[in-house]
């Protein structure tokens, strides 16, 4: 019986593949990340440019920008987090349903960026001081291609493999 089973498995290998349900779900989630429109400052304009006609985020399934945290999967923190705004950012993070991810876009979201100087009193130096961040995109503001690379990095984090070619600087 075993020989026949092996033979059977070998015959239908190209059509049938066994894996965990989670991997299937993650594949679906990775290709339809709904970002939360959370544009704070300059990076928001580059995020809009990424969503607009030339750097089309729709190619990666991430062009549906949801204003409400209840319907968003990933929070792209695009801009400077202010101490007065920190509680609002945390509230929005709490209101997002699991599974949720955070992309820190721009130097301000990574480490306070250009607004860190001795005697600064208003900027939270980095979003990871408020909640865990999955992908950091450096730049001030990062180019739309960098945001797309960040989303691809997040997809790689979800599914474990990278479907899109990696751009090598020649």
């Amino acid at each position: 019986m075993e020989a026949q089973d092996e033979q059977l498995l070998k015959d239908c290998a190209p059509f049938v593949r066994f894996s965990k349900l989670d991997e299937l779900l993650n594949l679906g989630r990775a290709n339809s990340l709904w970002p939360l429109t959370f544009g704070l400052a300059c990076c928001a304009i580059e995020m809009m440019a990424a969503g607009a006609s030339r750097f089309d985020l729709a190619r990666f399934g991430a062009e549906v920008f949801r204003p409400s945290p209840r319907q968003a999967d990933v929070m792209i923190v695009a801009g400077t987090i202010n101490k007065k705004m920190a509680s609002a950012v945390k509230t929005l993070y709490d209101q997002m349903p699991e599974p949720k991810w955070v992309i820190a876009m721009g130097n301000c979201a990574i480490s306070g960026g250009p607004f860190v100087f001795p005697g600064q009193y208003a900027v939270v130096e980095g979003v990871d001081k408020l909640f865990p961040v999955d992908v950091f995109i450096p730049g001030c503001p990062p180019r739309p291609e960098a945001l797309i690379e960040g989303i691809l990095k997040l997809e790689e984090k979800l599914t474990g493999k990278r479907r899109w070619p990696v751009v090598k600087p020649e």
């Binding site: 704070l40 400052a41 809009m48 440019a49 801009g79 202010n82 007065k84 705004m85 005697g119």
Partner: protein
């Protein structure tokens, strides 16, 4: 069920209570982190009080521990949509205080890049404003054109949004032929596009119903709140810093100030679209008469110490009058740097102008003011 004594059973006309609606920091129509506490009576706004400070980034405090050259990148992060004009004001006030003579070619290139930046800023406003009113496709058209401008400016300055292209005394580098030919091609491409925008959107009856006679702002109200730019030009006062306080190379060019007298959101909308046409005219004239020569003043002192005193320099940014007030005490860092930003004054008339408005009209009115929130909070 406790019947309150003034409950509906005993009263003929039951008054509906007002509730406070938080048009909070996270809202698609505020295009940033502006919070407006709106006291609503049903659908009508009885009092709308903007609360700012959610993106306050201490620009003026930073000026007090940065030398003049180090502060340059900050100026393009105050209003990142018209970054060139803001850098122009800061560089202008330093040149005015140090009595530096900027070469003619640098002034012309500053005018060309500032006007290109004004067009790209109006295009972002146009796309986002129609997004607020519910039209999704114009944003894609506007950003498509804007990318052409960004390619031109990126070729010369290296940045897409926050250029620190101007230097104290001139420019970072000279423009190449690709930029000049590309700009001419862009001007030729943009004019028919403007005609298409007018047919596609401006003559659309829904847009006219949403904007005509909505958000009325009188010229007296503009003056008392210090509003400037398209807001005051939409209310009948042709005030434009390029004409009122001529700076840089603007006196050499012949252009008009679009001015409408209705003072409603439609007037402000038309002023901005007309301004794009005027900017194209300026760019064309500047390209035709672009002088040759250096782009940097000869002797710019390495360590710049400005004479004691206070100096002002005002420019016409995309949103209005941006003025830099510099107080110097002959050290290499400014003693005090005040940034008079247009959006703060333009928004300050929102509270008085939006009383009694319907909520959707108040949002259309706020969109027509063209606000950039870090410009208010600095």
């Amino acid at each position: 069920m406790i019947i309150k004594e003034d409950s509906v059973l005993t009263q003929r006309e039951a008054p509906s209570e007002t509730f406070i609606l938080n048009l909070g920091p996270q809202h698609p129509a505020t295009h940033g982190v502006l919070r407006v506490k709106m006291t609503m009576d049903g659908e009508f706004v009885t009092r709308a009080e903007p609360v700012c400070g959610y993106i306050h980034r201490m620009q003026e405090k930073m000026a007090e521990n940065r030398t003049y050259a180090q502060y340059l990148p900050n100026t393009s992060r105050i209003d990142y949509l018209s970054a060139m004009t803001y850098t122009h004001a800061f560089v202008g006030v330093v040149e005015r205080a140090a009595k530096l003579q900027v070469p003619r070619r640098a002034e012309y290139i500053r005018v060309i890049t500032s006007e290109l930046n004004r067009i790209s800023s109006h295009l972002v406003w146009w796309g986002a404003f129609l997004l607020d009113l519910g039209g999704f496709t114009p944003l894609l058209y506007a950003f498509d054109d804007r990318e052409k401008i960004l390619d031109l400016l990126e070729g010369v300055t290296g940045a897409r949004l926050t250029y620190a292209y101007y230097r104290i005394g001139g420019l970072y580098n000279d423009v190449d032929d690709a930029f000049l030919n590309g700009t001419r091609a862009f001007v030729a491409h943009m004019r028919p596009r403007l005609k298409m925008y007018r047919e596609l959107v401006t003559e659309n009856i829904i847009l006219r119903k949403r904007l005509v006679r909505i958000g009325m702002v009188t010229d007296q109200m503009c003056r008392r709140y210090g509003a400037s730019g398209p807001v005051i030009r939409g209310s009948g006062v042709p005030y434009d810093v390029r004409k009122a306080e001529p700076y840089s190379a603007y006196p050499d060019f012949d252009f008009d100030i679009p001015c409408f007298t209705e003072g409603d959101s439609m007037a402000r909308y038309l002023v901005r679209l007309e301004e794009i046409a005027q900017s194209l005219r300026i760019i064309e004239q500047a390209l035709d008469r672009l002088p040759s020569g250096p782009v940097m003043a000869e002797k710019v002192p390495r360590v710049l110490k400005l004479p004691v005193g206070d100096y002002c320099y005002a420019v016409e940014a995309a949103r209005g009058r941006f003025m830099v007030r510099l107080v110097s005490d002959n050290k290499e860092i400014p003693y005090r740097l005040k940034l008079r930003t247009p959006c703060l004054s333009n928004l300050s008339l929102f509270e008085e102008a939006s009383q009694g408005m319907l909520l959707p009209d108040a949002l259309a009115f706020m969109g027509s003011l063209d606000l950039v929130i870090p410009d208010i909070d600095r």
